[in-house]
Symmetry: C2
Subunit: 446 residues, 2 copies
Amino acid sequence: MHPIDVFARSASEFRDGRLSGEVLHHAKRAVIDWHAALFPGLDADPVPRLRRVLADDLDRGGARLPGGRAATWRAAALLNGTAAHAAEVDDSFRDAMYHPGAATVAAALATAQQLGTDGLGFLRGVVMGYEVSTRIGVALGRAHYRHWHNTGTVGTFGAAAATAGLLGLHGAPFGHALATAATFAAGLQQAFRMDSMSKPLHAGRAAEAGVLAAQLAAEGVTGSRDVLDGDAGLGRAMSDGPDWSTVGDTLGRDFHITRLTFKNHIGCGHTFAAIDAALELVRRHGLRPAGIRRVRVATYGPALDIACHQEPATENEARFSLRFVVATALVHGSVRLEAYTPQRLADADVRAMMERINAVVDPAIDAAFPARRSARVEIETMGGELHAWLQPDRKGDPELPLSDTELDGKFLELASPVLGAAGARALLARLWSLDAAPEGALARLF
Amino acid sequence: MHPIDVFARSASEFRDGRLSGEVLHHAKRAVIDWHAALFPGLDADPVPRLRRVLADDLDRGGARLPGGRAATWRAAALLNGTAAHAAEVDDSFRDAMYHPGAATVAAALATAQQLGTDGLGFLRGVVMGYEVSTRIGVALGRAHYRHWHNTGTVGTFGAAAATAGLLGLHGAPFGHALATAATFAAGLQQAFRMDSMSKPLHAGRAAEAGVLAAQLAAEGVTGSRDVLDGDAGLGRAMSDGPDWSTVGDTLGRDFHITRLTFKNHIGCGHTFAAIDAALELVRRHGLRPAGIRRVRVATYGPALDIACHQEPATENEARFSLRFVVATALVHGSVRLEAYTPQRLADADVRAMMERINAVVDPAIDAAFPARRSARVEIETMGGELHAWLQPDRKGDPELPLSDTELDGKFLELASPVLGAAGARALLARLWSLDAAPEGALARLF
C-alpha cells in the first residue's frame, strides 16, 4: 500500500475516534507553546514585511491575526506560520528533526476560524497534523535533512493533514490533500546558512501550501497516490529512497504529540543544558551576579564548536555564544527574546560575567553525546565556595519536560509584551479550556 | 561570484538596455503562444476547481482573468499559470527541458496589470523571466529532470525574474527575489506519473511563488545569495551539484526567447514528426480519408515505446497513441484539443483509419535520435499510388519554426471556442501590437 493510502485510511479513525485526555492535554500544550513562539515573532523579520505584501488579504476573511485583525484563510496561515517560526522558539519533534507546530497549528487555526469549528475539533485537527507529518519526517530521515528544511517540507504535510481533517476529508480525498501537499513542499537549508530572512517563510509557506492542498482536495482535485514512494517521488527526490513500509505502524496508538521538545530558552539549543545548570545553581544557592567569581562549563564538543562566539557582536552571534547565554542566565535569570536586544548585547554586567566564564569539553559528557546532551557547571563564589551541578538533559526535552506551570511561565513571558499581562493571562486561560470552546470561539481567540 | 549575483548584476542592463526588434518580435510570439495555450486550459482540470477555491480572491484586485474578471495579483498568477499549462500545449525551451511560458508570462501579466505597466515594459519583463530561468534550467541539467518538474521548479525563477523586473528591482533586491524564489521552488515528476491533476498546478504555484518572492524582495526581504550554489543549495539538493560558473556568459547577448519550441499539435511530442509528415502528404497530394488504403510510419524507437497505445480507451492514452494521432491528422486535418473529446475517441472514421496504419522503427532515423526527431510516412492510395515524405524535424521546433501566420492559426483555433472568432482576432491584433500598448492597456487585454 502507498504511504499516502495508509494515511488516507487512518483519517476516519482520527476523525471519529476518541482522543484520550492525555493526548488532548498535550495538544493544548502544543497550542500554548505555539502561541508563546508566535508573539515574539510578530515584529521579527520578515513578518512585518510579509504583512505589508499581504495587505490586500487583511481586514477581510474569516481567519484572524494576533490582535484580532481579520485575514483571509490562506493569508492567516501564511502570516501566522511565518511569525510562529520567526523567533526560533517553537516546538520540535526530535526524531524528525522537525518543528511541527509552526505550520501545523497556523493552518489548523486559520481553518478552524474560517469554518467556525469548535475547540475540540480544532485540537483534533492539530493532532492529525502532528501525527501524520512527524511520521513522514521520521521516514525521510537524515538524508532529507542534509539539504532540506523539514519545517518547510514536512510542515506542508502537517498543515495539509490538519486542514483536511478539519474539512472533514477522509479516505481518498484526505490522501489527495497529502499527495498535492507533497508536490508543493519546498524549503532549502542553504536559505539560512547565509544571513537571510527565508527561514520563517518556510513555515509560513508550508502552512499556506497545506491549506491550499486540502482546499483543492475538498474540491475534488486529485494528486498522485504514489508521490511519496514512487521512483520520482518525494522519498527519492528529497531523500535516499527511504523505507515507507512501517510509516503507519504506530499511527493512532503512539501519539508523537505527547513527546515534543519545548524550548525553554532562546538561542542555540546546544547551550541549553549549560543554561539549565547555571540557573539551577542560582536557585539552589541564591547566587547574585556580584557574588560570582568564576564559572566553569563542561559539556560535549559540538556545543563548543557550534556555540563558539567568544565575543559576539551581533544578535545571531550572541545566540551562538555559550559564554554570552550563560552569562545572560546568571545576570538576568532567563535567556529569552530580550537577551538579544542591542542594550543587552552591550550590557556591561553581562560582558563582565562573560570574562569570568570558561568552557571546556568534558570527555565523559562528550562520549555520551548525542544520546545525552549534558552540561556540568561549577561556580566559585567571591566568598570562596564551590558549587557544581550536572544537567543530564535539556530542560524542555521529553525526558525533562516543562511542567504546565513552567509552560505557563514561558507563555506569559513571551506573550505579555504584546498582549499586556492581563491579556496574556486571559488568552492562556482560553487556551487551557480549548477543548470546551464552542463553535465560533476560535475567531475570538486573540 | 554566486550565480544569484550574476543575475542580480544583469538586471539593470535588462531594465535599461534596448531590446532589438527581433527579440521583441519573439517575445510577442511567446505571449501569443501562451494565450493559445491558456484558453483551452480554462475548463481543463484542475482549473475550474482552483477557481472555486480562490473565489474570495476574485472580483477584486488589479489583475485579470480571461474574460476580464478581476483577480488579485497573486491569484491571477496562480490561476492563469495553471490554466496555461493545463492543456499541455505551451511552449518549451528544449535545452532546459522546460516550459518557460506558463509561469513566466502568467506572473508578468498579472504584475503588469496590477502595476499598470505599458506593453513594452511587460514584454521586457517576459524576456527577463525567460532569459534568467532558462539558464538556471540548463545549469540544473538532466539530473534535476530525473525527479523534478522544471515547469514548477525552474518556472519559479521565470516568474520571480519577470515580476522583479516589472517592479523595477535591480542589483541586490533582484537577487533576493531569485534567492527567495529558489527556496519556494517545488514540483515532483511523480505527481504526473500517476493520473492526477497536479501537473498544471506546478506552473500556477511557480507563477504565484515567483510573484510573492519578488513582492517580498521589494519590501526588503533578503534571501541567501548562495542558495543556488551552496553546499545545501538548489544545485545539490535538486541536481548533482552542477557547474554554475558559465550560467551568465551569454546573458543579454544570446536571447533564448528567440529559440522556443511551439507545439503545433496536442499530444505526445514524439508523434509530432509523423503527424507533420502525414499532413504534408495530404497537402501535396490532396488526399482524402476515403482514398487512403494503407499508411506506414517509420520513426525512432522511443516514439513507439512512449506513444504506444494501439487501441486507446482514454483521453490520456489517446495522447500517447501514434496510430490515433496520425489517424486524427489524416481524417480531421489537425491534432488539437478537440481530437480528444469523447466523440472523437469513438469516431468511426478515425478508428477505421487507425486499422490502416502500421508503425515501425527505422534504423537510420533511430540512430539519429535524439539530435533529430524525424519520421517518414508512406501512404498508399486506393488507386494504388504510393506517396512518401520524410519529416526531418518537428514543425514548431526552432529548426522549423511556426511562421507568424501559422502561429496566428494556432492561436485562432484555440482561442476562438472561448472568445468567438471575432474576439479571438481582436485579441490577436492587440497582442501583435503589445509593444505600443500604453500604460493600463494590459488590464483591458482580455
